[in-house]
Assembly symmetry: C2
Homo-oligomer: 137 residues x 2
């Protein structure tokens, strides 16, 4: 599979794929005799992973760290790999907790809102949004 084909399949630009390779997020594929990149299933899996990680708010640098767990596994002990994985997992857990507070606040907000066709002047949205902060401290 050449770069254009893969890009189309995962819904990214060819430029983005070359950029990911340069940044160490996508492993360098084999080249054809004429120098064209030749991709396989592994690369597609990597790209799906990258997109999902991006969607939940990881930066490319963070994603690179996650993928490095995999790429460099020969150079690290099993214990090191396990520790890094658990550290990343805790980070994800924190983000989940934060988002759940957001979710609760928005639910409360919607409940308090009467939902009528009248202007929302007196809806307690401001109060609720400010309470979001209150919940955190």
């Amino acid at each position: 599979m050449r770069i254009g084909e893969l890009a189309k399949q995962v819904g990214m630009s060819t430029d983005a794929l070359r950029y990911y390779e340069q940044q160490g997020l996508l492993s360098a594929p084999q080249r054809s005799a004429s120098g064209y990149r030749q991709y396989g299933r592994t690369h597609m899996a990597q790209l799906h992973f990258i997109r999902r990680a991006k969607d939940v708010g990881f930066s490319l640098e963070e994603i690179a760290e996650l993928l490095k767990i995999n790429f460099e596994k020969a150079e690290h002990s099993c214990q090191e790999v396990k520790d890094l994985t658990l550290k990343k997992r805790d980070l994800v857990a924190e983000r989940i907790a934060e988002l759940q507070r957001f979710h609760a606040s928005l639910s409360q907000l919607a409940e308090q809102c009467c939902g009528s066709s009248a202007p929302a002047q007196h809806c307690s949205i401001l109060t609720a949004l400010e309470d979001i902060d209150g919940l955190n401290q």
Copy 2:
């Protein structure tokens, strides 16, 4: 409270606060006779909200939309405000689900890893990371 004081209290830079005001995320405060910005509790609450939203991965544009619910409430019906709030809540729910899949995958990864001092060559990290994608489709 002047800009430096507020910035210190919320742990942001004065430049960031002026930038947020310019972008419509922080409401413009009153000015002293000499032109200094005068902030109150409301502004601090807004900033805490902005930071928490940023931490969970919202862009400034998305945060502006959330805050617009509040700022423009006089111009919209209660129903509109409620609908927008529920839409944003659903978006948050999706992100939570996505992150929970990540969390599960990383847990599984750590479990499968033996945790020994041997090289991690044979740990099934690659498989687990690729499975993350598999779970999604």
